[in-house]
Amino acid sequence: MSNFSFIAETDWRCACCNKNLQASKVNVEYMGSVFNVELMVCPDCGFVLIPEDLALGKMLQVEQLLEDK
């Protein structure tokens, strides 16, 4: 998952800051492994969007891979 970009245009906006989301590098972590990935994030408050297809797709795959390590 490292060095992956998951940025995609989205209609979701940050309701709190009233801002469009922007691509940004984010560290995600599971079972001691940290990955630096590009996700859509609120530029003001840093709210990170994990879309459904990422959560149930690539992210799940990596989670299961790490669980068997």
């Binding site: 709190c16 709210f47 891979l65």
Partner: protein
């Protein structure tokens, strides 16, 4: 698992034992693939199988006396396979496909006296092993007794081919030798070992006693001299010649290597096999006889006859178990994978999923001829994983949280019967029945209090079986400890369980308590007067896997159904053989797809509507599309007039809700205790369509989780919005899992549009 345990388990699985025909064959021809090849018309493939093991296949394949045939399992069904005739067909129509390799020369010279089939086999086998072998015969041609066979049975060409084969492997042949004593002395001195083929008339001239070779080594009590072959009691067996020649070659090879002549040779020659093959249910198919006895099988006849081979194997456990089928394993492979999985220090433990997919139901052990305890092996491995912190967190998280909920104040409680301060009995309905059919639990309890004297207490909780199945020994031990404490506080009443899983746990882990199943109790007391309408059409009883070793409970259930007027049609995979519904061993959580498949398989065991007495069986089979009711649905019908066989699986959220509400209702109505356990975050009303509810259940997301996400998002304002639809998207991580909910504020609450989850942590996760 240590290596000794591994070996013990492996040795008990007989799937890799030789089939009956191969074990009975003195040279262990691999008959199964031979038959399989012919059956699919692959004659070259069949010939290849023979070429691998059978010396001089052009000869032996034509005239073998087929001692294998009497061992053929098909004999139990109709008639054994015509193995000899099929071999004859194969070698008559297909020339040799492979020549087995010849090892590099490694010295040592062996004289073979005589030229019958055993001499030929010994010389050929030794030459292939890299030994110099020389045939010395008084005859003018090889074959011995073989030369007396009629041309149509054994064509001269087959013997000519044998000479070419011997030549190819470097065996020299000296014809016309004069077998005198001096000749023998010289030969013995010039060679490291000598084999005497008794299929040779001139051996009598030698001052060596070949009549009684040792049956195991073929030694004749003279250094380096061995003998075999020939006629026994005036009967000439082709395969006996081959066996002796091969045995002699193996002995001489050991003799030349100066190693034991006897160690580990039990499997040479025809040997017993532990193979276990069930022939019941296989359709009879008469033996195919060649239309023309003279010419033998045609290709079509050969194919048809070979197709009768049932490919003997055991697989008794795999035939029934969806999990073993899923991972293409029989127990011998499974235990090895588990052993290897445990041995991994760094790397991927690829058997984790397999280990967590076992339902631990024990069906395989019942059908296994050697009672291999696969469930025990899988459970021990789970415990090992938990101990070493290698258990995948996602495997059992959800059911363990469910257990935690049931043991929390939301559901757990223990009370004496209202108005009483002691309990002779204690009703323990279990968490799943209370979640699935709360009204049945309530009515059952009231009925028990009316029918039984001495006080009937009530205990809600979870017996701890999820922790037990998950390999969480500490958590499970604590549950048992707390349970024992509570029971003692209640004055050690007789515990009445409604659920077979609770029963099995208490029986095994709290053996000193008095225990009875609800079904045994109901048999002895009056049945409720207001009962449900008993269907006219036959129903099939679905025993739960946890009642596998409880024949008394199963019998009680059957007598109850009889008393109630059910028409029961038993199906064959019940009682001791019952399948798991997918809940057992937490299979459906570690491997949801397999759980679904397992439930469907159980449901399909009978064409009739099902009658269950385990609420997980009831609900899982209902989810799989089976029409199935719980026995209590008829004893204590709900006000809802719906046919109980059509009742839906309530799903995980509803089960939580049902348990919590049941507790609150009973506390209020029976014990007059006020309780409102509803936390602040749960006060928002949710609107969830059945479709979304199904999605939530399949994703193991509870309404409770959704409530938390929305409560938190609405409190803090941290959420995303889609300006076009007006939907919000928010996330929250209560413990280990981050839940995302797409929702829309409505007039009276929140409309749920979607939810999903992940376990990976984000920076600044909201907890």
């Amino acid at each position: 698992m240590d290596q000794q345990q591994l070996r013990n388990f492996e040795a008990r699985c007989i799937q890799e034992e030789q089939p009956f025909c191969t074990a009975a064959c003195p040279i262990h021809i691999d008959v199964r693939p031979f038959m399989a090849c012919i059956a699919k018309g692959d004659m070259r493939g069949a010939r290849r199988v023979l070429d691998r093991t059978m010396p001089f296949a052009d000869i032996v394949g034509r005239i073998c006396d087929q001692s294998c045939r009497t061992a053929c399992k098909r004999r139990e069904i109709d008639s054994p396979l015509a193995i000899g005739s099929l071999e004859r067909y194969c070698v008559s129509t297909v020339p040799a496909v492979i020549k087995p390799p010849k090892l590099p020369g490694k010295g040592g010279s062996v004289a073979v006296i005589g030229s019958g089939l055993s001499a030929m086999t010994a010389a050929l086998d030794l030459a292939r092993k890299g030994r110099n072998s020389l045939i010395l015969t008084c005859d003018e041609a090889i074959g011995g007794t073989l030369r007396t066979y009629a041309e149509e049975l054994l064509p001269a060409q087959a013997l000519a081919t044998a000479v070419e084969t011997l030549d190819f492997y470097g065996v020299s042949i000296q014809f016309g030798c004069s077998l005198t004593n001096e000749f023998f002395q010289t030969i013995r001195q010039d060679h490291d070992a000598v084999f005497l083929d008794r299929d040779c008339a001139d051996l009598h001239g030698l001052a060596v006693d070949c009549a009684h070779p040792d049956p195991f080594t073929l030694g004749i009590g003279r250094e380096g001299c061995f003998a075999g072959g020939g006629c026994l009691e005036n009967s000439y067996s082709v395969i006996k010649q081959v066996e002796d020649g091969r045995r002699a070659a193996l002995t001489i090879e050991r003799y030349l290597q100066k190693v034991s002549l006897t160690a580990q040779r039990e499997r040479e020659g025809a040997c017993p096999t532990r193979m276990y093959t069930v022939t019941a249910g296989i359709q009879s198919q008469q033996e195919v006889l060649p239309a023309d006895q003279q010419t033998g099988f045609t290709a079509a006849e050969a194919v048809q006859e070979a197709a009768r081979c049932i490919q003997c194997q055991c697989m008794e456990c795999v035939k029934e178990c969806t999990s073993l089928q899923e991972f293409h394993d029989y127990p011998k492979q499974l235990v090895r994978k588990i052993y290897n999985n445990e041995a991994i220090v760094q790397g991927t433990r690829s058997a984790n999923r397999m280990i967590n997919s076992c339902s631990l139901c024990g069906q395989c052990q019942v059908v296994c001829p050697n009672d291999i305890p696969v469930a025990d092996v899988c459970l021990a491995s789970r415990r090992n994983m938990v101990e070493k912190s290698t258990m995948p967190p996602s495997a059992h998280d959800f059911p363990l949280q469910d257990m935690e909920f049931s043991q929390s104040d939301f559901f757990a409680m223990t009370r004496h019967q209202p108005g009483s301060d002691s309990s002779r009995f204690l009703f323990y309905p279990g968490c799943q029945l209370a979640g699935s059919a709360p009204q049945a639990v309530e009515q059952t309890y009231l009925h028990l209090t009316q029918q039984l004297s001495g006080g009937v207490g009530l205990m809600f909780g979870c017996c701890g079986i999820p922790a037990h199945w998950a390999g969480r020994q500490e958590l499970f031990a604590k549950t048992m400890q707390d349970f024992l404490f509570e029971i003692e506080e209640m004055g050690n009443p007789i515990i009445i369980t409604a659920c077979s899983s609770c029963y099995s746990i208490f029986k095994e882990f709290t053996p000193n308590l008095s225990l009875s199943s609800l079904w045994q109790i109901l048999e002895d007391i009056d049945l409720p007067e207001q009962r449900g309408l008993i269907p006219q059409q036959p129903m099939a009883i679905y025993d739960p896997c946890t009642a596998r070793h409880e024949p008394e409970i199963r019998d009680s259930v059957r007598r109850l159904t009889k008393k109630l007027g059910f028409s029961i049609e038993e199906h064959p995979v019940s009682g001791e053989l019952a399948d798991c519904c997918g809940y057992g061993g937490l299979m459906q959580f570690a491997n949801p797809e397999l759980g679904g498949k397992t439930a469907r398989k159980k449901g399909q065991r009978s064409v009739h509507d099902g009658l269950a007495y385990c609420s997980m069986c009831r609900d899982n089979l209902a989810s799989s599309g089976k029409r199935i009711a719980h026995l209590l649905d008829y004893l204590f019908p709900s006000a809802d007039p719906e046919d109980p066989t059509l009742r839906r699986n309530p799903g995980f959220s509803r089960r939580h809700e049902n348990r919590a509400r049941l507790k609150q209702r009973l506390l209020t109505t029976l014990w007059h205790e006020e309780s409102d356990m509803t936390p602040e975050y749960k006060k928002n009303e949710l609107f969830i369509t059945p479709l979304i509810m199904e999605l939530l259940n399949s994703r193991h997301i509870l309404e409770d989780d959704i409530q938390k996400v929305i409560f938190q998002a609405e409190q803090t304002g941290r959420r995303l919005v889609d300006p076009e639809s007006g939907h919000f998207l928010a996330s929250y991580k209560p413990v280990r899992v981050t839940y995302w909910v797409e929702y829309e504020p409505g007039m009276q609450g929140f409309i749920i549009h979607n939810a999903y989850s992940h376990r990976m942590s984000l920076p600044g996760d909201v907890k």
